[in-house]
Symmetry: none
Subunit: 309 residues, 2 copies
């Protein structure tokens, strides 16, 4: 029978430096929801829906309220990145205070079919702002730092992205090219793999996929990984199978999705913020060469504009 593993709960594994999220809790719940079991989801949702109320409850109280057991509450707390329920409760109190103050990420209504365009504009802007805030709060600085370091000294950079993520890949590549790095964006999976075979140490491969399960993107990353390149994954599912082949994982926030705005579509904002952070970080590190390159490309573009007016 079972034996062995049990529930280890690695209290503070050196690999998980994840800082307990202060305010972006609702986002974290959404990101991790797929990983969770039914009863854990109940707990997570209850907590996200009413932080203030839950902060007043003890483990037993919350277990009763959610119709689960204390053990499940603790398990959920762990999954959300806290050492235990005690700390989740503290974070909950903090979140409640922020919400009350007005810096509140209070819930927004979905975009509906019969919304007026004015409402659509407001809701879209609101959602994207929220998405940015969540991403910024959840971004792991350690991972980002490592990724920036790898990029800064890279001999060559390949970026894999399909569909919407391909645009983000192109965006990153455009930026990196501007500061004199050698970067390529791949959308053709076959060519991507073909190129990945050439990768070796000091080269960097970046895969961008919201789901973390896009085979066409995972495959080239795996090949690059196997050939000794440094690999980076930008994904909304840090627990996805892509994690197995990524040296550094940058987690994007999973925005609320609605019928008119599927997740794949709204992940873009989050991915772009991560990409921008990467770029700025690299530009800082390589400022000596990046700054002249930036102004040079600016100069070059000026000639493509009509000087009239």
């Amino acid at each position: 029978m079972s034996s062995g593993v049990k529930e280890t709960f690695s209290r503070r594994s050196a690999t998980a430096p994840a800082p307990p999220a202060p305010a972006a809790l609702a986002a974290k719940v959404r990101t991790l929801a797929p990983t969770m079991t039914r009863s854990m989801q109940r707990v997570a949702e209850t907590v996200a829906a009413d932080p203030a109320g839950c902060a007043a409850l003890t483990v037993t109280g919350l277990a009763e309220r959610t119709g689960t057991s204390e053990a499940t509450v603790v398990r959920t707390s762990r999954l959300l990145g806290y050492p235990g329920y005690r700390d989740l409760r503290l974070a909950l109190a903090a979140l409640a205070a922020q919400q009350a103050t007005g810096s509140a990420p209070a819930v927004t209504a979905d975009i509906a079919v019969d919304d007026s365009l004015i409402d659509v504009i407001a809701k879209l802007a609101q959602e994207e702002q929220q998405c940015l805030a969540d991403t910024a709060a959840a971004l792991d600085v350690t991972q980002l730092e490592a990724a920036v370091a790898a990029l800064s000294s890279a001999r060559r950079i390949d970026v894999y992205g399909i569909g919407a993520s391909n645009l983000v890949a192109q965006d990153l590549v455009q930026k990196l090219l501007r500061i004199g790095l050698i970067a390529h964006a791949h959308s053709d999976p076959h060519l991507a793999v073909t190129n990945a075979v050439q990768m070796r140490a000091r080269d960097v491969a970046i895969a961008i996929t919201h789901s973390g399960r896009t085979t066409d993107v995972i495959e080239p990353l795996r090949v690059a990984f196997d050939h000794g390149a440094t690999t980076i994954a930008i994904t909304g599912r840090p627990d996805g199978e892509i994690a197995a082949y990524a040296d550094h994982i940058l987690t994007t926030s999973t925005a609320r999705e609605s019928e008119l705005r599927p997740a794949a579509m709204s992940s873009r904002t989050s991915q772009l913020l991560v990409v921008d952070c990467l770029f700025i970080g690299v530009a800082q590190r390589t400022y000596e060469t990046a700054a002249p390159a930036l102004s040079a490309s600016y100069e070059a573009l000026a000639h493509r504009h009509n000087p009239h007016h």
Copy 2:
């Protein structure tokens, strides 16, 4: 002996009118300081001086830090109006969160070369959020409505964009294709013009340019305009020369630019919001056909994912 009173501290007397103070803790400490004994004052002051730090401590920890005992810490908590230390600690966490939020909006400065990555993340997110808010506020609903109407009944849609704006163009096209419209993104100026010649009434041409002066984008729009197509410009300069050939103008916000983050880069966020609004608007108008198309494309993509858990 002693007998009688002891430390009663009515655990939860129904008469207790003292609501646990949320934020005005420092004031309460000052008010009650004269009432307190020496060691209690030490505790109270420590707590008022560093709420965040104290929130992380257990009773024992705080007792040690103040050089007193657990009992004293609990007594102080009671005097401040809480049932016990546990609740004081929650309030402390809440207070810390409020303080952190209050001092947060001080990050309006430009991104500098020597900023830490943490600052970079915060500033970037902040800037983009601002950009979204600005764009939403400035967007002309009338123009947007007209643009949506034109797109909804378009026979064919061409989108022109160069450089960073080309990615936005591709993003729009991807979305429109998903709901069954016929759309193309052009980055090659010559091909764009060649195609523009084919445009006529009921066709829609969209040009995306931040500066409003990108000749390579203006030219195809002009040609489409001359051939009777409905033309839309998404630009940060509604007074630019592109305005002459645009039936409808959607204005994007011009974000603050800095050396590390040129305007061309930050305009993207704004453009994408406008594009999203266009898309949602069209999807609403053509909901009958758009909804099935959206789910169909979702289904189709599901097969490209690895089902492995």
